[in-house]
Subunit: 248 residues, 2 copies
DNA sequence: GCAAAAGTGTTACCGGTACACCCATGC
DNA sequence: GCATGGGTGTACCGGTAACACTTTTGC
């Protein structure tokens, strides 16, 4: 560590998803560039987190590193979903200024590998490490100004997330270890931007042996306390059966 | 064209799938290196097709170019599925020798972007362009010796293909425009390495408005001639409905 | 007329969907 | 005792799974 040499033309960008029990959010970092002479604001927008990879580093490690730098968390769910190579993806005027200002020896053309990551946002503190990072609800992204081609990257990430959630129980990565069925339902509703019917939802979850009821219940809530559950990937792996059903 | 400059550390590799009405195959190229002094065979194995990308070229275009170079075909279904960055992925002894022999200015560490492509193999001629290219049934790959990390890339490609086939009607790309239901069934059986029940399969296909029966039938077959069908992506796009059903 | 593959219909079961009411807690 | 979200059962329907026989052609 310390004198790592970057590869100038390859980077990793992370789309970090989190769930606040109401909405699905993405962690964005504020980017601000102020003219040192005039004091005028040259750039003020938001970016995903990303960085170049090092010469002796694999993409997955670079993504983990970036994630840890921003959130302080390790062993987080990360999935590579697409590699972006548009020739002018970092060539907008404001982005060129930004790269010049950074002055880190990046290439003019940068190919970036997109990862999405799912974190239990109850575990992340945005006060210490924050480089002005904040959670933004996914439905606000379309109206925002993002750096580089990050809006495009976000769109692809959300699509990849939805596809993966359908076939693999990764949603649980967005919840605390112990969660209620209502939280799980709200989460899926947020991911797919839809509404689910409570009784049917619970019936379905009841058929998943890997969503296991704990003996504990919520405490201190001003209504009937909910049963707490746990997701066991171990049980999932043991009980899953191959499904071939074509869905198109 | 002509004086294109390659990017030394980024390449594209294509896993080309084809269907011969019996098995699902992959197009592999024979790689042979003979010691110019002794005449001894130094390397003899198989590789996927790939090449570096050019400085002014996008990944998708590089993949199309590579595909066209090998098969002569254009406008082929191509999908990027994963980017491979293991540090020693081209560093095995035989692979280093090969790269030295090629002497094209490639970097020591090459990151490669994997694409899979689906082609109607009745359209490809392996006689003209062939650099010793041949179709290899997918169930023979595990027992073969492949260059670089190409076996790993193939595994990921097959996985990505299966996932995508489940949610999008891309299988039809592997068939001629006009095909029979039995051919479609055999193809799906080959892709998923499974058996399907004829009557149920046909009932299901009967509910897909975008698989349209033609007026024509097979001719010259020594049995009852089969009805020919056509896949219409246009009809598919118009009639598809969003499904959210969780499958895990 | 025989071999070879195409084509078709019925029943049993399961999973999906739609829907309305009682329950436990904090204040 | 009231407001708040937690939790449950039933009826209908559509899709999936299992199964055997008749049809059309080339030779």
């Amino acid at each position: 560590m310390g004198k790592e040499v970057i590869i100038p033309n390859i980077s990793v960008d992370c789309v970090i998803f989190g769930f606040d029990f109401e909405k699905l959010n993405v962690l964005l970092v504020e980017r601000e560039l102020i003219d040192s002479k005039t004091g005028a604001v040259v750039i003020k927008d938001h970016t995903l987190t990303g960085y170049h990879i090092f010469e002796d580093e694999v993409l997955d490690s670079a993504a983990s590193r970036i994630l840890k730098d921003l959130t302080g968390l390790e062993n987080i769910y990360l999935e590579q979903f697409y590699t972006f190579s548009e020739i002018d993806r970092v060539a907008a005027e404001k982005d060129k200024k930004w790269l010049a200002y950074m002055n880190k020896g990046f290439a003019d053309r940068i190919i970036t590998v997109g990862y999405f990551s799912l974190i239990d946002s109850t575990k992340v503190e945005l006060t210490v490490h924050n480089r002005n990072a904040s959670w933004v609800p996914i439905d606000e992204i379309p109206g925002m100004e993002l750096a580089f081609d990050h809006k495009h990257i976000f769109d692809r990430a959300l699509e990849a997330l939805r596809n993966k959630v359908k076939i693999d129980p990764i949603v649980f990565e967005l919840l605390p270890e112990r969660f209620t069925l209502t939280q799980l339902q709200k989460l899926l509703e947020a991911v797919f931007d839809t509404q689910l019917e409570k009784r049917n939802f619970r019936k379905k979850v009841g058929q998943m042996p890997y969503v296991v009821a704990l003996k504990e219940k919520q405490v201190g809530v001003p209504h009937k306390p909910a049963q707490l559950y746990l997701f066991s990937r171990e049980v999932y792996e043991k009980t899953k059966k191959e499904r071939i059903g074509l869905m198109f």
